[in-house]
């Protein structure tokens, strides 16, 4: 009986058990799901399915972002793209990839309406730099009070003088004028300054430098007036006696006032220039702002979309390539790197190169957070523009020197018996630099000692440096067969390469057109003498040297040993393609007890990075003018070499992605209309309805 009672109860207990099981199951399921969702959100794996790998950041960017993650500082990427839907999306997608790969990076899509928010963030990062400006402005508050008092008192005193009947009319007029200066123009101007300051300090974020700038102009105007009143020598000549007597009596006050104003102005003048100003000035629509932990960078639209010459200019116009990744990655790199690597342009006997013929390369290097300097060592052309400095601005470990061959001697100077530029000083300095662990990029060109006597090469001055790295700079010039010097005096013998031997430096520039100047004559004589630079077969065993540029299979170029007006390929003496043109070499050495790698790059064409070869050109493209970079490879090869030398080769290899995405081709309007009505919003839905009706009719039979 008891067993039966149990059985009767079993239904109820089964019901209870059922609910218990159910709730346990529900809790378990929720926990498992929550965990799975959390795990997949923190440990994302992703795969880019697009055939072009559009949404894959390059390996070097990933390495860079790894560094960012390791450092643990947050970065914010803000896109201000808002004009072209397609570009907006592309930029947004790119920034999204950055935040996907790195936990420390957030991407944002903002418009200029959020300017204040962005400015606030930028100001936070430059607070230390802005603070002195703020202080200076608040100092002025005090100064302005005393100035106000001063002008009040002086105005009153001078007013009284102007009222005195016994003073001559001339004196009274002078006094009244001065009173006017103190009581109205100075006071008013002061009040206006104070209003302006208040307005600036009230605005958030406050742009203090605008206040200091305005104060500067104010002081520029007011200070001479007050100083002249404190200067006895000056006012004696202009004013009549009673006024002079008054000013004499008040001389201390005037002196004190003008001194304190002067000190303040000096203080203003001494304020260091603001970097934040550059940042803010470059903010605009269609820019990307990279907010680092302590600094910010703004990337302009033209750095993101670079218009390049298309490979077949006749068939297609220039194409814009999307170089957002390069731009953003280099901006991040600039912010990540703790200290700037110094790059020194060295050329005996020429003006500062970084601001001259190489200013565009310099800008690129600065973007990559290099500090660019110039050194003009002694031994250049006498009477040159830049005075020679016996000591290099930076040398040794962590510094990249870019060494140019000495200028060819100036014919006129030579005619006057001046000595030719001598490379000896440079050679000694470079040796010391390398011995200290420094890196060198050498542009090796044979130089001719006397252009009148002989146009032939006169040996390579840095031979002893390059030899040690297994680099063989040959006495052969690059000659371009098809070059016709008669065509026009301006035309340069140019040849173009777009395939390079595999090396970290050249990896990203494969297929980028790169231009070199071959030997040729112009009215000036040799415009350049690109030299064959190869690997020495008898190179030291501890050296790793590799050719990074050669002429490939182009039979129209060869390395000529004897230069004449009509060069001819001579199989016995000349070098046939592929002719090496640049070598990157490295050597393991022990510098002050530590194993180090010394690197050197030797490029046989000094014109490689000149502005003339890399600057964009204007081109017409479907009725609009575009800036086109005709030979993007030149700058890349130069910059990549510097990056490799400075040990930042992981920043190389961010190669441009073609923006020539596949588009829907032109469709005749009639066809389009037919398709729309016949298929898209007419035919297909109607077909569904008809099919339904037919099936329904059949089934209901």
């Amino acid at each position: 009986m008891t067993q039966n009672e149990n059985q009767i109860e079993s239904g109820a207990s089964a019901r209870g058990m059922y609910w218990v099981n159910l709730s346990l199951l529900a809790v378990l399921g929720a926990v498992i799901l929550g965990f799975a969702l959390y795990m997949t959100n923190t440990h994302k794996l992703h795969a880019d399915l697009t055939s072009g790998g559009i949404y894959s950041l390059s390996g070097s960017t990933k390495k860079l972002l790894q560094q960012v993650d390791e450092k643990g500082q947050g970065y914010e990427l803000v896109s201000l793209f808002n004009s072209d839907a397609e570009k907006n999306t592309q930029v947004r997608d790119l920034l999204g990839e950055y935040s996907r790969v790195s936990k420390r990076i957030t991407g944002k899509d903002l418009s200029e309406a959020n300017r204040d928010e962005i400015l606030g963030k930028i100001f936070d990062r430059y607070a230390g730099e802005i603070k002195p400006y703020e202080n200076a402005v608040s100092e002025f508050e005090k100064l302005s009070k005393s100035l106000d008092n001063f002008s009040e008192i002086e105005g009153a005193n001078l007013g009284a003088l102007a009222q005195k009947e016994k003073n001559s009319a001339q004196t009274r007029k002078e006094c009244a004028e001065l009173q006017g200066f103190f009581n109205s123009s100075l006071k008013e101007e002061l009040a206006r300054q104070q209003r302006a300051i208040r307005k600036i300090s009230d605005s958030k974020p406050a742009e203090w430098w605008k206040a200091t700038a305005s104060l500067k102009t104010f002081l520029d105007e007011a200070l001479p007036d007050i100083t002249s009143l404190a200067d006895k020598g000056k006012y004696k000549e202009t004013f009549s006696a009673p006024l002079i007597a008054y000013l004499d009596s008040a001389a201390d006050r005037y002196k004190a006032m003008s001194d304190s104003l002067k000190t303040y102005k000096e203080h203003l003048d001494k304020l260091p220039p603001l970097k934040v100003q550059d940042v803010i000035d470059s903010i605009g629509s269609n820019t990307i702002i990279v907010l680092g932990p302590t600094a910010a960078k703004v990337i302009g639209s033209s750095d993101i979309y670079k218009v390049q010459r298309s490979p077949n200019p006749r068939e297609t116009g220039p194409t814009a390539s999307f170089e957002g990744e390069q731009a953003v990655s280099s901006a991040i790199l600039g912010l990540v790197r703790p200290d700037k690597v110094k790059v020194v342009f060295i050329s005996a006997g020429s003006g500062p190169l970084s601001s001259g013929a190489y200013s565009m390369i310099t800008d690129r290097l600065k973007d990559l957070n290099f500090e660019v300097m110039d050194w003009s060592p002694p031994g250049g052309n006498p009477g040159e523009r830049a005075p020679a400095d016996p000591n290099p601005p930076a040398e040794g470990k962590g510094v990249v020197w870019i060494v140019f061959p000495p200028e060819q001697s100036n014919p006129q100077m030579a005619a006057m018996g001046m000595p030719a530029p001598s490379p000896t000083g440079v050679i000694e300095a470079v040796k010391k630099h390398i011995a200290d662990g420094g890196q060198v990029l050498i542009f090796a060109e044979q130089t001719s000692t006397n252009p009148f006597a002989s146009e032939g090469p006169a040996g390579f001055p840095y031979e002893e440096i390059t030899r040690g790295f297994g680099v063989d700079v040959k006495a052969n010039f690059m000659v371009l067969k098809s070059y016709d010097s008669q065509e026009g005096s301006e035309a340069l013998p140019l040849f173009e390469l777009s395939r390079f031997p595999e090396h970290p430096i050249t990896k990203p520039i494969q297929s980028l057109p790169t231009r070199f100047v071959a030997v040729g004559r112009s009215q000036m004589g040799f415009v350049g003498a690109p030299t064959v630079v190869g690997v020495d077969p008898k190179k030291p065993a501890d050296v790793d040297a590799q050719v990074i540029v050669d002429t490939g299979n182009d039979r129209s170029i060869w390395g000529e040993s004897t230069v004449s007006a009509e060069p001819k390929f001579d199989p016995k003496e000349d070098l046939a393609s592929p002719v090496p043109l640049a070598v990157a070499a490295s050597k393991k050495v022990t510098v002050s007890g530590k194993q180090e790698e010394l690197r050197i790059v030797v490029i046989g064409s000094k014109t490689l990075g000149r502005n003339e070869l890399i600057q964009p050109q204007l081109q017409m493209r479907s009725g609009a003018l575009y800036q086109v970079v005709p030979y993007p490879g030149n700058a890349e090869l130069f910059v990549n070499s510097v990056l490799w030398l400075s040990g930042y080769e992981n920043m190389i290899a961010v190669s441009a992605k073609s923006n020539a995405a596949l588009r829907i081709r032109d469709i005749q309007p009639a066809v389009l209309t037919t398709l729309r009505w016949g298929v898209l919003w007419g035919g297909a839905p109607a077909a569904a309805l008809i099919a339904g009706a037919v099936v329904y009719a059949i089934r209901r039979r």
Partner: protein
Amino acid sequence: MTIAKREVTSLFFSPIAYIVMFLFLLYMGLVFAGLVFVPGQLTELRRLVDFSRFGLFFIVPLMTMSLFSDEYRSGRIEMLRTSPITEFDLLLGKFIGAMFFFLILLGLTLIHLTLLMIFGHPDYGQTFSCYLGLALMGMMFVSVGLFYSSCTQNQIVAALGSLLTLGFFTFSGGLSELIPGSTKIFEWIHSAMIYLSVGTHLEDFSKGVLDTSHLSYFLGFSAIFLFMTYLVLESRKWR
């Protein structure tokens, strides 16, 4: 499987399936013609996929509303539940049936893909990822619809319930912009809403990127709703 097969064949004999197809094709056709199929545009389905959710959130409920509700209303649930199949079989069958129909709907967009292929060259990897994303989103939507259908015998109520829920998932990204204030709680709600939004997770698929976090979002929410449906089915007999 039997249930699924019956479900699909039955759907093809019911007018609602054709109404769903009509609405789907009409919506997709309008989006495609307006946003994608424009000369000079990129040949990618991306925007079609991104916008599809605004159509599917009201089309899928129409498709799923009757799945269980109608069985309850007609009493056929008694027949099904006394057949030698488990609740799980029943749920799986209904789910597979509805998914199959959804995939047929997706199949209809091959019309649009074909047009793209005639007049351009779509990226196949990206296209695959687009369809994968759509299928996963459909899976989640169908699961939600199934859940509401299992809750009530009134089809209209089921449709409304799933419409509201899917509407939330569809628009929460946009709605999150409306959240005022900047306190911690609001920020938290804001980011939660962005996470919940289907758009957040669909976008990478439409771009051509597979990401496990999005995969798990769709699979996870499908699982949640299917599991809840299972609980509802199981518990119905105990009430």
